[in-house]
Amino acid sequence: MTALDTAGAAVRPAPAAAVRGGTLVVYRWEAAKLVRQVRTRLVVLACVLAPFLFVAALKMQTTTPQDTLFGRWVHDSGFAVPLVVLGFAGQWALPALTSVVAGDIFACEDRHGTWRTILTRSRSRGQIFAGKTLAALTYGVVVTVLLGASSLVAGVLMVGHQPLVGLSGTLLAPGHATALVLASWASVLPPVLAFTGLGLLLSVAGRNGALGIGGPVVIGLLMQLGSMADLPVPVRTLLLTTPFGAWHGLFTDPPFRGPLLWGAAVSAGYLVLCVGGAYALLRRRDITGG
């Protein structure tokens, strides 16, 4: 029974290093939990496989999705595939994919009644919040990168690496097209992280996984409806869905990057507000039921 030896009255305080590294400990702990969840694995698997299935479906059709940017080139250049996928994903898939974890990462502790289990351990609420938030943000980045990379690989492998026709009609060499595709996918990371923040806020405030996961998707769709309506331009530029289309400017000649920077700033604003609000709510909360 040496491991449980409790002799001696002095309390051993946690080592300072352990306290300092608390956020990292919680991050690793949350990551270990996520890895063990079937839902998380399925989403990751879907991000890898879906682009290949998408291209396979396209190859069986003679028509092309011409209502989508670069849709008309999907049979002519593999580089059009990740851009078409990005166009679709930005509508609802990326908010949904990132919310699968973000929207439930706090609410699951309410569902399982485990707040009082984890908040009585050696980590502070701030560390637990920070660790969980970092894990959700990481997941958002991972699914975006996986979906983007898989789309690019699927396009190049199944269609080919032919030059791509840009939005100004200029032909983009494979190397240049690859760089622009990667930059395009990178440009949606800020709004993805902002939607992650939205999911985190709903997860803390609603204490309900369904609300946390579905809420950002619904809000995203409402924002898209708003952007299609005749809203004033300043309002439209503040919608979180607008940055998902900022990459279009990369494919013009000359390129315009202003929307990318503005979209990143708007996304950062959403992220800070949502994460700050979520922390304020969790910090003040009494754990009385779960």
Binding site: L4, D5, A7, T120
Partner: protein
């Protein structure tokens, strides 16, 4: 009771609460409570539903913030020391909860990862001590209440506690499990661990605790040692049926230190007397030619005092004996 000293943390009281108060939506849960738990002491916290026991334990574990008062754990406060105030503190409030999609062992591994240090090395011994056995390989979703209780105790032991806070630890356990928990608590106390446990069962508290706080409406109706509590306890109450209750009542009138009354339903007599006086009364009944048909303890001395202090009555005895979860408002 140990003296509290906030100046020397190494020998400070495990718990030192002064004027602790908390309201929920205007309803008083804890009202200016003082509590001291010394190292190596087993301190019982008893009270009827809604007395504030779970709120008090939640405040000790940092789950609920007090509205007023000071709370020190080994001389540290949550406000000044944050999570470090819980160093050496472990336990659970209400039923312990875990991730149902993981096994008991996997849950402990996760919690050990959260605690850091050498918590992981204590998993095997914690499982052994808690008596979970092979059930640790099964998913928690299939656990009974008693198994979750055992896992909760194992999870607490991972932290190598100097203060163990247990809310109804024997709730849902079979008699063997209750015996094991009692033995564990006594052994930990023998090693210098302070144990604060809540219970509805005065008999359990009497057999296990050195000190006791009886809570009523958020306040301490009694706070002292078990010996002090016994000194204050009134005579126990018995239920008596005889061959002639009328004559039995007449015999009782001539006896000092004995209170006999007819039950409301007229089917039996209630007798309040110390054991010695009861013996004399029963002998007197025999000499008077009255046969004693049944004689049963209805309310023990400590339960009687519990009811006196908390304003409950013998009718609440069933409630007092039933392990039910106290609901915290809000």
């Amino acid at each position: 009771m140990a003296d509290a000293s906030s100046e020397a943390p190494a020998v400070a009281a495990a718990v030192e609460a002064r004027g602790l108060a908390r309201r929920f939506d205007g309803a008083v849960a804890v009202a200016g409570l003082d509590l001291t738990v010394g190292p190596g002491r087993v301190h019982g916290l008893v009270g009827p539903n809604g007395a504030g026991k779970t709120t008090l334990l939640s405040m000790l574990l940092g789950l609920v913030r007090p509205d007023a008062g000071t709370l020190r754990l080994f001389g540290r406060t949550h406000g000044e020391h944050g999570a470090r105030a819980r160093d050496g503190v472990a336990g659970f409030v209400e039923a312990p909860r875990f991730y149902p999609y993981l096994t008991g062992r996997a849950n402990l591994e996760l919690l050990a990862g959260l605690d850091g240090g050498d918590a992981r090395s204590r998993i095997a011994s914690a499982l052994e001590v808690s008596g979970l056995g092979d059930a640790a390989k099964a998913k928690v979703g299939g656990y009974s209440v008693g198994m979750r209780q055992r896992l909760g105790i194992a999870a607490s032991l991972l932290r190598d506690p100097r203060l163990l806070i247990l809310d109804e630890p024997t709730s849902g356990l079979d008699p063997a499990g209750m015996r094991d928990v009692a033995a564990l608590v006594r052994r930990l106390a023998g090693d210098g661990v302070a144990v604060l446990l809540s219970s509805h069962d005065m008999d359990e508290v009497e057999g296990l605790c050195d000190d006791v706080t009886i809570m009523h409406a958020g306040r301490a109706a009694f706070d002292g040692t078990m010996a002090e509590l016994r000194d204050r306890a009134p005579a126990p109450e018995f239920l008596l049926t005889t061959s002639d209750d009328e004559k039995a009542l007449d015999v009782a009138t001539s006896s000092d230190g004995l209170v006999v009354a007819r039950e409301a339903d007229g089917e039996a007599l209630s007798v309040r007397a110390a054991r010695e006086r009861l013996d004399e009364y029963v002998i007197a009944l025999g000499r008077a030619g009255i046969a004693v048909r049944t004689l049963a303890l209805r309310t023990s001395a400590l339960k009687s005092l519990f009811f006196d202090l908390t304003g409950g009555g013998p009718a609440d005895a069933a409630t007092a004996a039933e392990p039910t979860l106290e609901k915290v408002p809000g």
